[in-house]
């Protein structure tokens, strides 16, 4: 006689509380320890405490507020423009046969183009001021938003639309009460991608002809080989990404409570 062994475990990952924060803390502590012990040259990689000191100086001098305000404003406008345009085009492709085939061809052709490569072109077209920066961000956000919105609209179960039709809902009501909420999970998942893309493009755009902005600050620190300040700027970008991700998580929890 042999006992039947359990073999059905695994493949069910579950979140471990505080594991993420603890891992980050451990890495930073190890980094600081290695720097303090002289295992890492602080000329090449500043210690975390030096980065924190640079951050404190940035805050106290008021520079951080100026750079952050400029970046956040560009990020908000650029992301909003790209998202709005992407939502409109994504819904149009998802809903109208006439828009779908030609629209998809254009999106498929332009989506893989690295947007950073287009920054100089946008500067020529829209000038070195805010216009080119916002267009760079908007352009980068637009395509993933279109793709995710289209996937969301396509993913709305057809039977729900038929149900709406059977109850006499108008096209607008079907769009508002069925298609939009049905596509929302995919759209919100897209927001996570587009906000990260927007931060990457923000830095690239601010490296050309900007006085203020985290990208301009990082470029200036790099030119001066001020690695403490450079990594302080990168830390701010990372924290910005974390904050936006947290906000989207809250938005998902609020809007998708039904899941």
């Amino acid at each position: 006689m042999q006992e039947v062994k359990f073999r059905g475990g695994g493949f069910a990952p579950r979140p471990i509380p505080f594991a993420g924060a603890l891992t980050l803390l451990l890495i930073v502590a190890a980094w600081q320890g290695a720097a303090s012990l002289g295992w890492i040259s602080t000329r090449f990689l500043p210690a975390p405490l030096a980065i924190i000191r640079a951050l404190v100086t940035l805050v106290q001098s008021g520079e951080l507020r100026l750079h952050l305000a400029a970046s956040l404003s560009r990020l908000a406008y650029g992301w909003a423009i790209g998202t709005l345009a992407g939502l409109i085009v994504g819904f149009a492709l998802g809903l109208f046969s006439l828009a779908r085939t030609p629209g998809l061809a254009i999106v498929s052709a332009l989506f893989p183009v690295p947007k950073i490569a287009l920054v100089p072109l946008f500067v020529v077209w829209f000038g070195i001021g805010e216009g080119s920066k916002l267009v760079t961000l908007g352009f980068g956000v637009f395509f993933p938003t279109v793709i995710n919105t289209l996937a969301g609209v396509d993913g709305v179960p057809r039977n729900l639309i038929r149900m709406g039709q059977s109850f006499g809902l108008s096209r607008a009501a079907i769009l508002a009460k069925i298609v939009l909420p049905g596509a929302l999970p995919a759209i919100l998942a897209g927001f996570r991608i587009t906000t990260a893309t927007a931060i990457i493009l923000l830095v690239a755009a601010e490296m050309i002809g900007a006085d203020y902005g985290i990208g301009a600050f990082v470029l200036s620190a790099g030119n001066l080989y001020d690695t403490d300040a450079l990594l302080a700027g990168i830390t701010i970008l990372s924290l910005l990404g974390l904050a936006i991700s947290w906000l989207i998580g809250r938005l998902e929890r609020w809007l998708l409570a039904w899941r």
Binding site: L160, S170, G182, L256, W258
Partner: protein
């Protein structure tokens, strides 16, 4: 709740194809007012397509469907479906789902709330008004489907295999409830099913369709009232046997056809 529908339907020489596949052919049929007409037939015989045509969701390839009789002033959606897969909006709670048709009809907030409360009570869902569909069992979800349909006080209720996604016990219980609700409301009902016992328990006119392309093979009428019909009743079992005799060969052919297609 009183509906007592006086609306009947006439199906005149209806046919339909999906590309080259002929699914319905020359269907001419009267659906009497205030009665339950059950459509039975083997898989793929076009029952659901016919129901889609009756409800205006599928344009017939040939023929037409006529609706006759006065529609009550409080009827907000004359031809109303109950779906096989419930078709509930997962982002709306039970009350929100039930209210959907009422919103589409432009009913005021107070009137909506009153009708929702009425049908929730009727279907035993009052305590679940704020529950999400994901929190409900299959049987409860279909109760929401029927509550949503009854809320608009339909002239004709179109039920597309409403119990087929449920387990046997829930089906038996819900069938009794459907029977009571339909009898009480007197709504003209067209009920599509694969299950012959459901047809015998619920049908007042049972239309047997042949295998694809679906044609009317026979029409069986049962003059007994819905209330009081019980599973195991010898008369109803005899009707069930008669139905099986009518569709058995077609069902076997249809099953082989599907197996061949799958293989």
């Amino acid at each position: 709740m009183t509906v007592k529908s006086a609306v009947s339907l006439s199906i005149e020489a209806v046919g339909h194809s999906y590309r080259d596949l002929r699914v319905l052919d020359d269907i001419t049929l009267s659906i009497p007012a205030g009665q339950v007409t059950v459509l039975v037939g083997p898989s793929g015989c076009g029952k659901s397509t016919l129901l889609g045509i009756l409800g205006g969701l599928i344009a017939p390839g040939q023929g037409r469907v006529l609706m006759d009789g006065p529609i009550a002033s409080d009827c907000l959606n004359p031809l109303t479906y109950v779906f096989q897969d419930f078709a509930l909006l997962p982002w709306r709670d039970v009350a929100g789902n039930v209210a959907l048709g009422l919103q589409a009809a432009g009913l005021s907030r107070d009137a909506r709330a009153a009708r929702v409360a009425e049908v929730l009570a009727l279907t035993g869902l009052t305590d679940f008004a704020t529950a999400w569909p994901k929190q409900l069992s299959g049987g409860m979800r279909q109760r929401v489907g029927i509550a949503r349909a009854l809320a608009v006080r339909p002239a004709v209720l179109l039920m597309d295999e409403p119990l087929s996604a449920l387990d046997a016990q829930t089906r038996a219980l819900l069938l009794e409830e459907f029977s009571t609700l339909i009898a009480a409301s007197g709504v003209t009902t067209i009920y599509v099913t694969h299950t012959l016992s459901e047809a015998a328990l619920l049908g007042q006119q049972i239309v047997v369709l042949s295998r694809r392309p679906g044609r009317i093979r026979d029409i069986i009428r049962i003059d007994r009232p819905l209330i009081g019909r019980r599973p195991g009743d010898p008369d109803l079992m005899a009707i069930e046997s008669r139905l099986w005799a009518l569709i058995r060969d077609d069902a076997a052919d249809a099953a082989r056809e599907f197996t061949d297609a799958g293989g």
